[in-house]
Symmetry: C2
Subunit: 347 residues, 2 copies
DNA sequence: CTGAAAGCGCTTACAG
DNA sequence: CTGAAAGCGCTTACAG
């Protein structure tokens, strides 16, 4: 009655094989396959019979068998990073949206958040084991050299992560320019001494680079910079105390964080410690993708998530069509500064 | 030199088959398979030879072939909903984390955000086509009846969505209790007339239910309720104007939104319209999972995302081990109220 | 403990 | 336009 799976009472559609469909339609298995593939002309009459059988049995093609027989799947594997930063969640979503728009069949794998590079490698093998037709990598920690052995078999594009490998197409944020933009704003606001939080590169290459970039650029503008190493991923308090101390000692009038999450955590910490923002200390974040940021008033740098996701999916699609026609490049998209009341002139 | 793929110069590890490994180790293919599976005892000496060959050739097992031959994969399919609401992004992440912790191999598919139920059904077929060993459904829109034909073949647990189907295990938020909690707070604060935004059920069953629940509960406490239908998903302005109007006319002193996203959008709208929160109008949200919410001061209801994700993964794991031992239940976890300055007594 | 062989459910030349 | 048959890369009884 339901319109699905009514052909074989009690049997799940998942148990129906192509042979069952063929028998029902009174044609050969090859013909059913051809109707499904749509690559070879099939007579109208036959096709109708097959479609009827398909519907009656509620047939769900076994993609596993299709993949084995067909040699290669049209699935695109997407290797994502963990959930620590909302910016990745958004990128993830955007990539999915763009992929669907372009007709790519996406299969996603997210490594465990702990033991980063280990888990990512395992996730990579899982995807490769599925013999995906293409691979999009959007996680910051895995080494490009881990991808190397697979480059001549499967097209790889890394999205939203800093890619420097000459054999891997990269579409990402222009972290250097972005860092420079933030640094310029801070310097222009009149700050002459600033604390810059630099995330360890093993935790996030993007954040690491942002930190380095902001520090270097500030110094280029003659600002006195204190670099603070952030060891744990996500929110944490260790270097928050250092920032507070620098502020109290008058050795920093601004604190630059490599992500909004870290900056938000600090704002709470500052409240508790009695440090006023921006009167005592200006604060900037990075990412600017979370809803409600405007209400918090955090000055930040908005990364072009949608643009990067879109371009990444486009490149993947092109490579799938004709690998050779796509020379490897490293594209970088700059973001835009988002003003906020947490950044003001030093008093 | 690299330690990977050095065995066959120029050949990708993805081109290496089990037969290649067997030849190199001078054993049969069956033996290599046994070493890999680890289910049958293999002599220490043989195992060593196989492992050496495995490493030298950089062999990556073809999971497609494994799946076909083995009959069933140990992959668990996760069907997610689109990105419109950050609460789902977090749930998604948490499920992944818990799944990894329990040793489940997760494969995720996200339907296109447009044409909801259609896209979700396609995504479902993609997962089923992969013949996953289990299915976790975390998207609000797909009909349980669409899942029905597959229930006796593959265990299904729906996570974070309202599940009422007697054949599908459900682990979700206790939306009714949560709605009651929010309504109680609003009523207790002294409000006697409130606007409740109710999302269309075709957009989000969860939000729909929250809205209905809040409205009913308020009325139960004698509050005069104005129900406003929200038609588009995510942020939108149509019913915002209605809320503003109700406030100005003195017909509502509080507005209850079924998600923080909607509430945040309204706060901006209220600012622009000159409606003061909470002086003119109290506002509440729902979800309370985004970072920085405390700084915004939005009163909301925190849903127990981690707990639901954990429990969902646990149930899946149990069902995978022994389907029969797990009687279908519908578990619901209540959340907790998060106070904020947007909720105050009516003036 | 190990090997030869059948079979998983498809696709795709190869013949008609 | 259609069918019979080989083969995709594995796992797993079935015999030793």
């Amino acid at each position: 009655m339901a319109g699905v799976g009514e052909g074989i009472p009690g049997a799940s559609p998942l148990g129906v094989r192509m042979d069952d469909v063929a028998a029902r339609a009174q044609v050969s298995r090859a013909t059913v396959s051809r109707v499904l593939m749509g690559t070879v002309p099939v007579s109208e009459k036959t096709r109708a019979k097959v479609h009827a059988a398909l519907r009656e049995l509620g047939y769900v093609p076994n993609m596993i068998a299709q993949g084995l027989a067909g040699g290669r799947s049209d699935l695109v594997g997407l290797l994502l990073r963990g959930p620590s930063n909302p910016a990745y969640g958004l990128l993830h979503s955007e990539i999915q949206i763009q992929a669907v728009r372009l007709g790519l069949q996406l299969i996603t794998v997210v490594p465990a958040p702990m033991e980063p590079s280990e888990a990512e490698f395992a996730a990579l093998r899982r995807l490769l084991g599925l013999r995906v037709g293409g691979l999009m990598v959007s996680t910051g920690v895995i080494r490009s050299t881990d991808l190397e052995p697979f480059l001549d078999t499967v097209p790889v594009v890394s999205v939203g992560r800093i890619e420097e490998h000459p054999g891997i197409y990269g579409v990402s944020y222009d972290e250097d320019t972005n860092a420079a933009i933030v640094a310029d704003r801070v310097a222009t606001a009149g700050h002459r001494a600033a604390a810059v939080v630099i995330t360890g590169s093993e935790l996030s290459t993007a954040e690491h680079r942002r930190g380095l970039g902001m520090a270097a650029h500030l110094e280029g503008r003659g600002v006195d910079v204190h670099r603070l190493e952030a060891s744990t991923f996500g929110t944490h308090t260790d270097c928050y105390d250092d920032v507070v101390a620098l502020s109290r000692e008058g050795r920093a009038t601004a604190a630059l964080f490599p992500s909004d999450i870290r900056a938000l955590g600090f704002l709470d910490h500052a409240d508790a410690a009695g440090v006023r923002v921006p009167e005592d200390l200006s604060v900037t974040g990075f990412d600017a993708i979370m809803p409600g940021l405007n209400r918090i008033g955090l000055a930040s740098l908005r990364i072009p998530v949608a643009r990067v996701a879109e371009r990444g999916a486009e490149v993947m699609k092109e490579m799938l069509r004709d690998r050779e026609s796509v020379p490897v490049r490293h594209e970088r998209f700059p973001g835009e500064f988002v003003p906020g009341r947490t950044l003001a002139a030093p008093r």
